[in-house]
Symmetry: C2
Subunit: 319 residues, 2 copies
Amino acid sequence: MSLADMRRVIDPDTYFDHNSPPTNLQWAHDQVDEFVKRQSPDQRIVLVTSGGTTVPLENNTVRFVDNFSAGTRGSSSAEQFLAMGYAVVFLYREQSLQPFNRHYSHNSKGLLSYLERGSDGQIRVKPEWEQQLGRDLDLYQKFTGEGKLLMLNFTTLSDYLFLLREVSLLVASLGPRVMFYLAAAVSDFFIPSHSMSEHKIQSAAGDLTLRMNQVPKFLGPLVKNWVPLCFIVSFKLETDPELLGPKARHALEKYGHQVVIANMLDTRKQKVWLFTKNEAICPAAIEISKEDLDAGKDIEQDLVVELARRHQQYISDAK
Amino acid sequence: MSLADMRRVIDPDTYFDHNSPPTNLQWAHDQVDEFVKRQSPDQRIVLVTSGGTTVPLENNTVRFVDNFSAGTRGSSSAEQFLAMGYAVVFLYREQSLQPFNRHYSHNSKGLLSYLERGSDGQIRVKPEWEQQLGRDLDLYQKFTGEGKLLMLNFTTLSDYLFLLREVSLLVASLGPRVMFYLAAAVSDFFIPSHSMSEHKIQSAAGDLTLRMNQVPKFLGPLVKNWVPLCFIVSFKLETDPELLGPKARHALEKYGHQVVIANMLDTRKQKVWLFTKNEAICPAAIEISKEDLDAGKDIEQDLVVELARRHQQYISDAK
């Protein structure tokens, strides 16, 4: 990075000084605090971030830049982490997919499509959905009932960053038994509040030129300062295959964390690569067949099993 | 508009030549064709558009610009149009609010939060939701069962414009008994496909400058060429109160359609103004109290009653 570029990218701490925290920050703080205290001393905990962040283009927001992410990776992984005994803090974009609910929310159907009145006049689940929905309902109620699943929501980039820092500082002292699984698609660019348009941008003036600044890389302070003892997994999504390996390796070298999961936009549901310090040249690949995918299997099942194994090793090594 | 501006804004027809139609265009065509044929000869029909459109920033889309709109106005209005005997084509943004389902989809809860297992082991709606949910379920099933509600979905600006034109051309011959209720929040700016980045925009290069072109105003060809005999209602949302009246009047003069509904972002759920040719200076205001709003009343109930009254007058005048 050139000196000119370095000057343009603001310091992460400066970011927090110049942006307002989300309204749910104190609530989230209290929730996480209670959640952590409720767990047993050797309970493995994972923070799963999920969905895309928005970047407002106006202070009175009508328009924003968004990142593509339905939240499939995050919500599916959260289910698998729960199944493997983890306590899960699920930090997700409002309206993105949620664990267990995800099969019923992003398919153009609404809740009412799953229900009907029985012959007795009572509302019931349509027979064709009863089995799958019953299974998901039981799991959802089990994990929320046992206090193993905490859901925190964000919308903007700024909300996300404040919440990420807050959760980090609350779990830092738990050390190696906490995993960070950073699957959210976080914006790389933003418009600083002071250079945003106050009102809705008017179209009558002709073309629109937007100048956006680079978002500081928060993985740096997260790894170095916020949670230096935790097990950190970041993601790298690309559309150009030539860039995927080099960028994954670069992230690993630059931040020195445990795992970069690399994936291509087109094939992300079928194949991912795990880059680690010892597998920087030949990353481990996790892949599922087209048949398994079509049969409803999620690659996150295998991915999370593998990560949990590595996390366990990391915990043992730290002892 | 200066000559330089006119040159920059492309012709609406040119837009369709340079963009690809959505994959559901033929399906939508067939659905609307059948839907229209099913209705009786004097059935009033309304096309309700709802939700925001996205504008991709990359051809392999990771990032896009979005317009703020949950789809509250459109989905609530569609319910009221149905209640008043209209047949409704609901052209909505994927994941935005849908009629009757809207109370259960955008509140951070998933479908599973509304369900539980009864003492007999059967899945049922939680008692506290049974009454409201039962009412919405019955209405939803009644109107879909009677073939009075057709749902068509879009995501991008381009999807929306192709579908809008397709529906327009299919209902044009029905004349005055068709209302267009254009509540969707349509992007004013876009990046033409040929000047888009092929791959995900890289952040390492520093700041990002986006140059966006103005979207041609499709209300012009819609009013003049596509559906010159229909009753057309457009919307104007602003955040700067000084601009609202002038912009609503300007739209009415420029396009010569029947009604512009003007509203402020902050107070859009409590107050709207109806600008028409004869009420360009003193628009009719429709307003509900804070108490009614808090008690769950939607302003769309009164708004749609008033529009239906004006539409009926328009139909009578056309005879």
